[in-house]
Symmetry: C2
Subunit: 369 residues, 2 copies
């Protein structure tokens, strides 16, 4: 079971409210999806993720294929059971990680040959293999195996690449078996070229998927360029299907994406920043190791109501980071995830009240964007 319900379109911009229905529960959109790369959202338990009101998390096909292996996870009863998470899961295709391997991989029409970043062992990932792995994992939303084009890329390269991505998308749809329980999303590529984005969108939507992602953005290009590409690409996607912007998780990118009609986004940013002692706050980013927080007995963010801010001081958290205590990474992860999940909740309310643009301006002013 998978369906998307469009609840409201903003009067101010392209932002919209919706609800995705899956076997593992509903997802209110627009939504930020925390990443649980290796079958765990780093430093967090599933119960803590629920307390933060996370409605869906990601798993990474590439990592789980290599370790512990998708057969093992299938034996365990699927990814949900293996990691003790009974809400929706989205898995990527493995393509992004494999293409990021640089000279450790070789692209062919059949698929991509690569060497594991862990032990150098040889592997082959193809549209069919990616579907098999994701079928074994049992995610609620699967992604087609595509090529994420780096930035910058020549027009000639992008032209060839999007054609292959389309051929691969068709093979994915043909091979994917568990369509009843697992929705397969198509991915639009096209680099920073409007006509190629148009071509890719046409080809991918022609195949007909229950949802669409915009890939190949937030890969190093300036924010303005990303916004420009979104401006015309979102319009090429059907209104009655969810739209997913891959790899985006900073507060400003989330605002820009939602304003342009994006429904879903994911990023490792909140947990990765957390492990380095960097915090989102309503007044901008805060680096806790800074000496000025040594005797600061106030909370990380006085406007925040998360577990961390309700119970611990900057001085204490700074001490934990100086001593490499696990609790430091935990408290920071809780705060940063709460911040983004709560930000999206506030964004949904602002759309409902046709107050999104005001809310965005206010947030940017306080954050210092």
């Amino acid at each position: 079971m998978f369906s998307f319900e469009l609840i409201k379109e903003s009067k101010e911009c392209k932002a919209r409210l919706g609800k995705i229905h899956t076997n593992h529960g509903d997802i209110e959109t627009p939504i930020f999806m925390p990443v649980g790369t290796k079958a765990t959202v780093k430093a967090m338990t599933p119960e803590e993720m629920k307390e933060l009101e996370a409605q869906i998390i990601l798993g990474n096909t590439y990592h789980l294929y290599l370790r512990p292996g998708h057969e093992l996870i299938k034996e365990a009863g699927g990814l949900h059971k293996f990691m003790n998470w009974d809400r929706p899961i989205l898995t990527d295709s493995g393509g992004f990680q494999v293409f990021s391997l640089g000279n450790l991989r070789k692209i062919k029409e059949e698929g991509v040959e690569f060497r594991s970043h862990v032990d150098g062992s040889k592997h082959f990932l193809s549209p069919e293999k990616s579907m098999e792995i994701q079928n074994y994992l049992g995610s609620d939303i699967m992604m087609a195996f595509d090529e994420c084009i780096p930035y910058p890329a020549s027009r000639e390269y992008v032209e060839q690449s999007i054609k292959r991505t389309t051929r691969w998308a068709k093979r994915c749809k043909e091979f994917h078996e568990n369509t009843e329980n697992q929705a397969l999303f198509g991915i639009v590529q096209g680099g920073m070229y409007e006509d190629l984005r148009r071509e890719s969108a046409k080809q991918i939507t022609d195949i007909d998927f229950p949802g669409y992602a915009i890939g190949g953005l937030s890969v190093g290009e300036p924010r303005e360029l990303m916004c420009e590409v979104m401006d015309y690409t979102v319009d090429l996607l059907p209104k009655d299907k969810p739209r997913y912007l891959m790899g985006v998780g900073s507060p400003d990118y989330l605002f820009e994406a939602v304003e342009r009609g994006i429904d879903m986004a994911d990023c490792v940013l909140p947990t990765r920043m957390a492990r380095h002692g960097a915090f989102f706050t309503s007044r901008g980013q805060l680096t806790i190791k800074n000496a000025k927080y040594k005797r600061d007995f106030g909370p990380i963010d006085e406007n925040c109501n998360c577990y961390t801010c309700r119970n611990y001081s900057r001085a204490y958290i700074r001490h934990l980071f100086n001593e490499n205590e696990i609790l430091g990474a935990r408290l920071a992860s809780i705060h940063n995830l709460f911040f983004l999940i709560n930000l999206m909740k506030s964004i949904r309310i602002s759309i409902k009240e046709d107050n999104f643009m005001n809310f965005k301006k206010e947030f940017y002013d306080n954050y210092g964007y």
Copy 2:
């Protein structure tokens, strides 16, 4: 406020049931006290410690003095407030860590000169300084500054050392100010020499403290020798005061100590083992990285009712450890702490029912001791 209530003496052995009353709540004895070296029980939140029914935790004077500093913790409102723990705390004197520094320290009558293991800076710890630090930390139970004698040690050395420990104990009692809220325990030394233990016990109990510790055991000597020293040392301590065996935390040592009349014990063992993927189970120790657990979808311990065993498989936890995921250390810490805390709870019940010796035998048989 501090008092000890002797509730019951076993008919089978010297084991006893009691209750310690402090400003931050009561402690049922015999009790295992988890260690929170640097103002955090590693990988755990205070709420999780409460869920495990931890009644008291330890803080380490040496570490907290060096970082973040006892003045800072005092400014924060004391250790309880700094780390968000409102149940009892016991702090050691710093002596054990300082004496363990080897050639980085120099013992004088006045105190011990040492260099920080962190940055090599010069420091001086004395009975008075240790009291000042512990007063600043605001622990419910403080320990006198003593010399923990290594094993083996010559008779001559031990003779000199216990005299100094007595002189230092007197200076501690004289300097300690906050006697109303912080109970200062004396420590009996004497190495493995019965007459010197007798002499030290006489001198330390003559000073009159609200509780007594047996120091200098579990420092590398065989278990039989430790038991032998306990056999005669416990009898030298008053019945109406709590007796604390320092640095003991393996299940067998806890049984042996309780059998001989010990009321309190502490150790970093459960959390340290946890971070290395080693688990206590009712059938002995389990090392999760062992290949045989790769496809083992059962719990760590089928007889365990902890959060970890209720929700996760050996295969999943093994995966977390192979990937160095923080959640692995968390789940292992929860399990090992639950195991020891719950073991002591069962031991208390067995004493109440005059079934301790049976319970011990059964446990040893299953554990493989």
